[in-house]
């Protein structure tokens, strides 16, 4: 048996013993329920295991959006929709769900989360973390949006309530198109890039939104239902309700 193999076996035994110790400590400390605080050892081991499990190339991946860019604002509505349920709107995780989850929902502004590289945060959002409440969003959230969420996480330590309110206002104000009387209101709208436009159906029957390019493609929108789309690329989109061909509109994204 060579020295390398002997070292490997010793390392494995030590890791195994540490894991067993942590397991015993967990059981002795209140079993596998989710209502008690995790021990320090358990937290460190879990964090190290997470660092270890993320592939090297993913760890080193760079956020394509420059740190000084304001892209975190664009991610705010997405964060509010997908993440705030557990992490809270400001990312500090003080939701009513948080103390009921195990492991605890981390403070995204805390040193533990901020200690991850951008690449690691991207990987975590996309892949989730096994045996925790963190789902993997691959397929639900695009790569570009994930990088913007990473930018949002980086912003959490300095985020103010005014910042959040401004992002919210920006997402809501002037970006609703109402479908009423078999017409789009307004039927000609100009918005800045990154705006979320919401189409709300106030008629008694379904409508849809379909652009020539296919960028806007809502499927049927039932009465009193809405459909939202985020427009990141500049351009002019002529759209129509294909169910009512005279019902047309245009969106200019600047």
């Amino acid at each position: 048996m060579g020295r390398f193999s002997r070292d490997a076996i010793i390392t494995l035994l030590l890791v195994g013993a540490a894991a067993a110790g942590a397991g015993v400590a967990m059981l002795a400390g209140g079993g596998l329920g989710a209502n008690h605080e995790p021990g320090r050892l358990e937290e460190v081991m879990a964090t190290e295991a997470l660092h270890f499990s993320i592939p090297g190339a993913a760890k080193r991946a760079q956020n394509p959006h420059a740190p000084e860019a304001d892209v975190w604002r664009e991610a705010a509505p997405l964060f509010a929709g997908r993440c705030a349920m557990c992490h809270d709107a400001d990312g500090h995780g003080q939701t009513d769900l948080a103390p009921r989850m195990y492991p605890r929902v981390p403070d995204l502004g805390g040193s533990r989360v901020q200690g991850f590289s951008d690449g690691e945060l991207f990987w975590i959002i996309q892949s989730g973390i096994r045996l925790t409440g963190m789902p993997g969003f691959r397929g639900l959230v695009s790569d570009d949006d994930t990088w913007k969420l990473v930018a949002f996480v980086r912003r959490v330590p300095s985020l103010t309530p005014a910042d959040l309110q401004a992002s919210h206002d920006r997402a809501v104000t002037g970006t609703v198109v109402v479908m009423d009387g078999t017409r789009f209101h307004p039927d000609d709208l100009t918005v800045p890039r990154g705006t979320i436009v919401t189409f709300t159906n106030k008629d008694f029957f379904p409508h849809n939104v379909q652009s020539e390019s296919g960028r806007l493609h809502s499927g049927p929108i039932d009465p009193d239902q809405s459909w939202s789309v985020r427009l990141d690329q500049a351009g002019t989109f002529h759209y129509v309700c294909t169910l009512h061909p005279g019902m047309t509109g245009v969106l200019h994204v600047r």
Partner: protein, 174 residues
């Protein structure tokens, strides 16, 4: 020829509506009956077009009429329930119903492209006639503000249907 007879019947409907409004004899309960019947007549024709239409455009248009007019009727029914109004049968509603039955009878004698043309021609005329009745009789006659608002909104849908029907008619050729 049958088609012209139907159109004449609808002209009679508008005229009847005019007479009613001149006498101010129409009330909200009667208007409710007219709205529900007008929608139901077009739902019935739409269902026939969905199954009997030969071109996809006609089948799609028929399906759209079923969906939209069913949605409008649900709102109208919800409103009259809320207002505690019982729709009251009247000559205009009866005339609409008879016109609808006659139209279905006529369409059932046709098939293929002839069916498509007759169906869409009737849809154009029907929506125009109903729009006229809405403008000249129903909206001026409605006393309840919610009922009036519903009619104004429904009018826009009927206008959209009329425009759509004309587009389909132009596409399949008269």
């Amino acid at each position: 020829m049958k088609h012209y007879a139907l159109v004449l019947g609808m002209v009679g409907l508008v005229a009847a509506g005019d007479r009613m409004s001149a006498r101010q004899a129409i009330n909200d309960a009667q208007i409710a009956a007219i709205v529900v019947t007008a929608n139901q007549v077009d739902i019935d024709a739409g269902k026939l077009a969905e199954t009997k239409g030969s071109s996809q455009q006609i089948k799609d248009f028929g399906k759209q009429m079923v969906t939209d007019h069913t949605g409008v009727n649900k709102q109208a029914t919800d409103l009259v329930t809320r207002l505690k109004v019982t729709p009251e049968d009247n000559p205009t509603a009866q005339s609409l119903k008879k016109g609808g039955v006659d139209n279905i009878k006529n369409l059932n004698t046709l098939s293929g492209a002839a069916f498509d043309k007759a169906y869409i021609a009737h849809e154009v005329d029907y929506h125009q006639a109903v729009l006229d009745a809405v403008d000249k009789t129903l909206i001026p006659g409605a006393t309840n503000a919610d009922l009036k608002a519903l009619l104004v909104k429904v009018r826009q849908a009927f206008q959209a249907h009329l425009d759509h029907a004309k587009m389909v008619q132009a596409a399949i050729g008269k």
